[in-house]
């Protein structure tokens, strides 16, 4: 374990939508600088849990602290302390690379001088110098995803939430993306990531598996494979989710 400092603490989180219970007494903790994989079947309640953790949804009941802030009373402080990217919503297609960076940096409250300096550093780091003033929609998907991730951590957040960040990305770019994830974690940024690629789940420090609103497993990839006598996390996942799921 990299650190014992807890950046996410969840105890007995319940979230109901009418009579439907999307999150059923979730309890878990995430440590600083950890790469935490959040897995589960479609409809298991992952998106709901992420929305609660990002301060976008109020829980029905339970104790949730993110980056030291309470989700009931300090959701705006949470939003300032985290970064977020997903496969679906990343960048503004009709803005250029440079405009997207400065726009998000401004939203995250960086100062004018800082914005300019960080934007140029980021463009240089990603090797996008020749594309600074190109529209996002003219960039290949892999480049966009790498840029979106860099922007999501431009304000040095405590935690970055990545919702299927590599979906549909080619295998070489996926690996470059994971290298960036490791670098961020090395700098102390906690990475909370969902994926349907089971080989990517192997790259996480710890993973949790959700099924029907509950967390049915939580451990290191190594321990989970040992526990279920499986050769890969794919086997673990199929075992855990198939037994619970009817559809």
């Amino acid at each position: 374990m990299k650190s014992t400092e807890k950046v996410i603490v969840v105890k007995d989180l319940v979230k109901d939508f009418g009579s439907f219970r999307a999150n059923n007494h979730l309890t878990f903790e995430v440590y600083k600088g950890e790469v935490f994989g959040f897995l589960g079947a479609n409809g298991a309640g992952k998106t709901t849990a992420i929305k609660v953790l990002c301060g976008l949804l109020k829980p029905t009941s339970g104790y949730v602290k993110v980056a030291g802030y309470d989700v009931y009373s300090q959701s705006n402080s949470i939003k300032a302390a985290i970064g977020y990217m997903s496969q679906k919503f990343t960048l503004y297609e009709d803005l250029t690379v440079y405009e997207n960076i400065t726009f998000y940096a401004g939203i995250y409250g960086l100062k004018f001088k800082e914005i300019k300096q960080k934007s140029l550093a980021l463009i240089y780091k990603l090797g996008l110098e020749a594309h600074t003033h190109k529209l996002i929609k003219d960039l290949p998907l892999g480049w966009r995803q790498k840029l979106a991730f860099s922007i999501a951590i431009i304000h040095n957040p405590e935690i970055v939430f990545l919702d299927e960040p590599t979906s549909g990305v080619d295998p070489i770019t996926r690996r470059q993306f994971w290298k960036m994830i490791y670098e961020a974690a090395d700098r102390g940024i906690t990475v909370f990531v969902t994926t349907h690629y089971m080989d990517e789940a192997e790259y996480c420090d710890r993973i949790s598996v959700m099924s029907e609103g509950c967390i049915v497993a939580l451990d290191t990839p190594y321990e989970l494979k040992k526990k279920y006598g499986a050769r890969s996390l794919n086997e673990v996942f199929l075992e855990l989710v198939r037994t619970k799921q009817s559809i």
Binding site: G43, Q87, G168, Y182, D199, E202
Partner: protein, 302 residues
């Protein structure tokens, strides 16, 4: 007999080349997979073959019908499941199915045997609105709607993208079941591990087909040596291995690193010795099983 023929198809959107000189053939009753990431050109190709988009150059046919001249004929005999969920979100499961049947002038009852295996999974929710289904169930309903008129050829554009591993496995089992009906299936996917479930695959990247062959032939065509390596610190292991003189490529692969070399004579002992000199402990090393993903990355680098 060839169900689908494509010869030298190219397509550009303004300055962007979507497809470049695409040629391939698919036999009747075959499951043919297009394996490649987003932006490779899979969707454009499917739209051209289903007569929704005209190619700039090249020609092709589906069941002997020309994809430009005979578009009306082709539309009657193919089923198409687009990548984005395309059913009516505000209609229920059974209303969607009845609607698609009526568009093609068939009855759900007469062709029910084709979809019974798949539909049984979603029948308990037949009164639910399509928009309220989970991802896996939506794809099953879309497959039923694409099948209900008994098409000769089925085009499935990324049917398993964003779907969890359990539902993906089920979906492929259902496709295997359709082989008995002699329906030709053209399917695209970004998941490399799904290639092994096809009879033939084309690996596609940046609008070009890099290779077409049965999955096992693609794997046996890998012309380098591949090792799987594990050690305590994976992150530092990569940078050490990159400096190895015989290193062609090294990358994470699940819980291991894959190390590719052109040096036929390199063996596990030599690499182990090299790593132990660099103070790596607990080094586990063996010859790796080559996967489609290894082949895909190797072809991308050519």
């Amino acid at each position: 007999m060839n169900s689908i023929k494509a010869f030298d198809i190219s397509k550009k959107y303004n300055q962007i080349t979507a497809l470049e000189h695409i040629s391939f053939q698919v036999d009747e009753g075959e499951i043919f997979g297009f394996i490649g990431p987003d932006g490779a050109g899979k969707t454009t190709l499917f739209r051209i073959l289903t007569t929704l988009v005209l190619p700039d150059a090249g020609h092709g046919s589906v069941c002997g019908y020309d994809i430009v001249k005979d578009y009306k004929k082709i539309r009657q005999i193919v089923g198409y499941m687009p990548g984005k969920f395309s059913l009516y979100q505000d209609l229920s499961v059974e209303e969607n199915l009845a609607f698609f049947a009526s568009v093609f002038g068939v009855s759900v009852h007469n062709n029910y045997h084709l979809i019974s295996d798949i539909y049984s999974h979603i029948e308990p929710f037949k009164e639910r609105r399509a928009g309220k289904l989970s991802g896996g169930m939506k794809q099953k309903l879309a497959l039923c709607c694409a099948l209900i008129h008994k098409p000769k050829v089925l085009f499935l554009d990324e049917p398993t993208t964003g779907i969890d591993a359990v539902s993906r496995k089920e979906f492929w089992n259902l496709l295997k079941g359709l082989k008995n009906e002699h329906i030709t299936i053209l399917v695209s996917t970004p998941y490399m591990d799904e290639a092994s479930l096809c009879d033939n695959v084309a690996l596609i990247q940046d609008g070009k087909i890099m290779k077409t062959a049965p999955p096992n032939a693609i794997i046996s065509g890998f012309d380098k040596k591949l090792f799987a390596i594990r050690a305590q610190s994976a992150y530092h292991l990569i940078s050490e291995l990159e400096k190895h003189p015989a290193c062609h490529a090294v990358y994470p692969f699940g819980q291991e690193l894959h190390f590719v070399t052109m040096n036929e004579n390199l063996n596990t002992d030599a690499i182990k010795k090299y790593l132990e000199e660099k103070k790596h402990t607990d080094v586990e090393i063996k010859l790796a099983d080559i996967t489609i993903e290894d082949c895909f990355m190797d072809l991308m680098n050519k």
